[in-house]
Symmetry: C2
Subunit: 397 residues, 2 copies
């Protein structure tokens, strides 16, 4: 990926942030956007923004497609026709199956690697873009055929190098299923809460009383509505399936409240809490670079581990490059188990990946947080003093 | 409230934060907690922590009761018996009807003012307490009888002076109804999302992909489960009623996704968004002090207004102190309309309140955020350039 030229097509919030980070990292890059004002705005900030899409991508080694979801299938074909034949194409859309199908239909398997950085804000537009927006983000990439892993490897290295990304390999279908629950359904819940508050007879006192739980729970309800609608309808089946699962849990919680059943309610709450406290640390620090020479499958959870390693175990595996089947299977298995790549070392006839894989969460329904009502007013039992963080390293805001 | 002595009974997260702020503000204050380790921990930090509850409150002018919800009815009676007869008692529990009923039963109307600061974290214990936790918080107080407004006024002034609180007067019943939607139901939704993720076959990839929407939407699922169960069961009827309203909106959203109906889905999303962007600015800055001499009902939304004033209109009203009926009606109406007190000026036979009252949100279902899919990739139409914050002053994280 040395001296690669890059291009970003569609420079809104995400594309613009990709562009700004590439500029910051010293990668030669051009931007393009269908909106002339955005191109002018980009030029005024010193970025090369040709008016012509074909000229933007004609000598690129990698192109990021970052327009709205519904435009991607058409854009990928147009860009592929204009870009060099060995150029790697990727996108940043929030659903992956539809664009992967479109790319296969256009015969682009092996050139197009569907992607999705799990980051964003409820804002939009190049002016809202920031080079650090995607820093350390989990970034799904969808490798396809075993024989076509070259573009995937090149792109993964670029993302790790430039964005300190946690590159998570997944099939488009596995991505869409997990993203429905990890991202799309939370948008639905946020709108349901905000929408019900807007229709409530006590709407204005709800607004005044809106505490952290309401503000956090509805933050993404500020996202432009068309963008959210495209996302939900672009992943319809998986969203409906995961909504059903969430509503089933909601029904159980409501039934326990209705029945005034404190033990059952507390058990359900604690079961949910176990998942929350088992989330990997948020990527406010980028993953550490892979350390060459570290033995395979080393557990790095000792005192020497970085905070974000607490829930993850390091792996290191080498593959013979010509046969990608075993490598592809390992990559997809890694993503399915909540793992991500931390490094790629190409060798003579081999490729070596380093990675981290999440530990399973504590499935025990026992809430280890204080439950004794008397003690809950004060400090926990000694030893350790009254410090009572729910979880080491857990973010408290 | 000059030279008032204060006491805090139950020094966990909230009580501890009240205590630390009172210390910081130079108010003489004693703490008490049923846990000996907490009392020792407090003493080691230089705070007066008697072992005896009666001694803690015997010369207090105001006592904050901050133990777990289920202990409050008993604690309020015990403290009232030990404190001076003109001491104002208040609590910080997240539901108000039950404790108000208990206080009336103990004949404490006129001494006990139920309270609820709308702030917190998912942590617990004195070591997690911070003096700034409640700074600028919306703080509900429940005045009761018109003849007994004196303690309410004294307490409101203390909270405004020491905590820069947005004191919101409400009846216990109005508080519980609004808090169910503004705080309690968001906890249920967070647990439903986290709980469904924990049971999902793709649990581990959901953990890895958990983006801002999932993390924000489940943050409060890290709260100690017993505390959350007590909160929900302590406000059972209102929680169930508001859950029904949220599930109805959720059903409408799901039906629109199921029907693949983009116009209806977008309209529902935009309706919800209108409420979200109409939340008052979060209290990361305390409310400005009331400005004496400002004429009544002055609109302060001009260029001269502070950011948190954008959604609120200032009011100033004087009442003859002896008859509290009109004053009480105004106070409760203020809270019901999403207003809060900003100052209290006692005079000769009069009391003058300054306040802010929320404007109604824009009820238009039109989402003024960018909806054009082409433009959504880039910048908005001129004029104004490509800056595209969803709402002026909206927090973006």
């Amino acid at each position: 990926m040395d001296a690669v030229r890059a291009a970003v097509v569609g420079t809104g919030l995400i594309g613009g942030s990709v562009l700004l980070r590439l500029v910051e990292a010293g990668v030669p890059v051009r931007g393009w956007d269908p909106d002339p004002d955005t191109r002018r705005y980009g030029r005024e900030r010193g970025v090369d923004f040709p008016d012509d899409l074909a000229r933007t991508v004609r000598d690129a080694g990698v192109v990021f497609l970052a327009g709205p979801l519904v435009t991607l299938p058409a854009t990928v074909a147009e860009v592929a026709a204009a870009a060099p034949v060995d150029c790697v194409l990727t996108d940043v859309g929030s659903t992956k199956s539809a664009v992967a199908v479109a790319a296969r239909r256009h015969g682009l398997t092996g050139r197009f690697v569907p992607g999705h950085p799990m980051a964003g804000t409820e804002r939009a537009g190049l002016a809202a873009a920031r080079p650090e927006l995607l820093r350390g983000a989990t970034w799904v990439l969808c490798p396809d055929q075993p024989a076509d892993l070259g573009p995937f490897r090149r792109l993964a290295r670029l993302l790790m190098d430039v964005f300190a990304a946690r590159v998570t390999p997944m099939s488009p279908e596995a991505h869409d299923e997990a993203a429905a629950l990890a991202s799309h359904v939370p948008h639905v819940l946020a709108r349901a809460l905000a929408g019900a508050a807007g229709r409530s007879p006590v709407r204005d006192s709800v607004r005044a009383l809106a505490a952290g739980s309401f503000r956090d729970g509805t933050r993404v309800a500020g996202t432009p509505s068309r963008r959210t609608a495209d996302m939900l309808l672009g992943n319809r089946a998986a969203v409906l399936e995961q909504l059903t699962a969430v509503r089933a849990y909601l029904d159980e919680l409501a039934a326990a409240v209705e029945a005034d059943d404190a033990p059952v309610l507390t058990r359900l709450l604690a079961e949910a809490r176990a998942l929350r406290v088992a989330l990997p640390a948020p990527p406010d620090r980028p993953a550490l670079p892979a350390r060459p020479g570290r033995p395979a499958l080393t557990d790095v959870t000792g005192p020497d581990a970085a905070p974000e390693d607490v829930a993850a175990v390091a792996e290191r595996l080498s593959f013979s490059a010509p046969d990608g089947a075993e490598e592809l299977a390992w990559l997809l298995g890694l993503g399915a188990s909540g793992g991500w790549l931390t490094g790629c070392e190409p060798g003579l006839g081999t490729v070596t990946w380093t990675a981290r894989r999440l530990r399973p969460p504590d499935r025990s329904p026992v809430d280890r947080s204080p439950v004794d009502p008397v003690r809950d007013a004060g400090s926990p039992p000694s030893p350790g003093g009254p410090a009572r963080a729910a979880e080491p390293g857990q973010k408290v805001t």
